[in-house]
């Protein structure tokens, strides 16, 4: 059953990815990419990464691809669909990709099979199991959760704990998280600056024109020109 779904999702993902690069129509490519991402979310679910599967669909398949489609439709790309394919160049890239895959295949062949066990997550990592608790007298103590407690958490809860835990001496992801928010702010400002049009002179109303320059006599106008 597991194997069936794996082949279904991965096969769909690969076929859609191939359709992305072989399609001449950019809109069709974008849609194929969306489907490829949806199939990949299926693989994420099979790897017990439920939170990431949801994020992948929401962010990549939803927001990013909508942005892509928006730009494809904003720029008129119809004219480029009739360019001749370059067969030799395509063959060269295929050879390159196959060489890369051969390299990976040899590496994977040399490594032992990594069986994915159904073990629960390790609790040897103390970042994950510390839970601050406030006592009656106002002091806080760290309580180490048992493996049982940890197993009860769902995926999102665990990632949230790992992301925001600040245990001294352990790797913490709080600073990267904040820096990412800064990055998004910078990206937003950058996009606005890049896309800002040069300010065009706004069409003036009749009153403004007459106030600035009173209508000239026909004779004077003729002299000027």
């Amino acid at each position: 059953m597991n194997a069936l779904f794996f082949w279904l999702f991965s096969g769909g993902m690969i076929v859609c990815a191939l359709a992305v690069i072989l399609n001449r129509n950019a809109v069709a490519s974008a849609l194929c990419f969306t489907f490829s991402i949806v199939f990949m979310s299926g693989l994420f679910v099979m790897l017990n990464a439920f939170f990431l599967a949801a994020v992948q669909i929401l962010v990549t398949a939803g927001a990013v691809m909508v942005l892509f489609l928006f730009i494809i439709m904003l720029l008129d790309l119809v004219a480029m669909e009739h360019m001749p394919r370059q067969k030799v160049w395509m063959g060269c890239t295929l050879v390159l990709a196959l060489g890369f895959l051969l390299l990976v295949a040899k590496t994977l062949h040399a490594t032992p099979e990594g069986f994915i066990t159904q073990n629960s997550l390790k609790t040897s990592d103390h970042r994950l199991v510390v839970k601050p608790q406030v006592r009656a007298d106002g002091t806080t103590v760290d309580i180490v959760l048992s493996q049982n407690d940890w197993d009860k958490y769902d995926d999102t809860h665990r990632i949230g704990r790992l992301l925001f835990s600040t245990v001294p001496g352990k790797t913490s992801y709080v600073a990267p998280f904040e820096i990412t928010s800064l990055l998004i702010l910078v990206a937003t400002i950058g996009v606005i600056v890049l896309c800002k049009q040069e300010e065009r002179p706004r069409p003036r109303s009749r009153e403004e024109i007459t106030r600035e320059a009173p209508p000239v006599e026909p004779k004077e106008k003729a002299l000027k020109t």
Partner: protein
């Protein structure tokens, strides 16, 4: 037949190779951009597979960051493409030879 870590790694490698082919083969700058995204997603799949294999969540946190940065990158990149299109009226890379020596 049991699905092992190697299966996931192989699928991710195939996806990466397809993205690489797209970057080199295609002439449309938007498709190239999509292919770059595809390579990022292939790396994400590897991260999640290893995270599951090692039973540790750090890989998934990394994927979370990669998705965030990729989204920001797409926004900036598409803005650049729009600015380029305003300037040159094209999205084909063979027409963009200003920096060619």
């Amino acid at each position: 037949m049991e699905i092992t870590l190697n299966h996931y790694l192989a699928v991710a490698a195939v996806l990466f190779a397809i993205g690489l082919m797209g970057v080199i083969m295609r002439r449309n700058i938007l498709i190239i951009y999509m292919s770059i995204e595809m390579m990022l997603q292939a790396a994400n799949l590897t991260f999640v597979a290893f995270s599951r294999f090692n039973n540790q969540l750090d890989g998934q946190v990394f994927v979370f960051f990669v998705i965030t940065v990729a989204a920001a990158e797409v926004a900036v990149g598409l803005a650049l493409i729009v600015a380029l299109y305003r300037l040159k009226r094209t999205t084909q890379i063979q027409d963009l030879t200003t920096l060619k020596f």
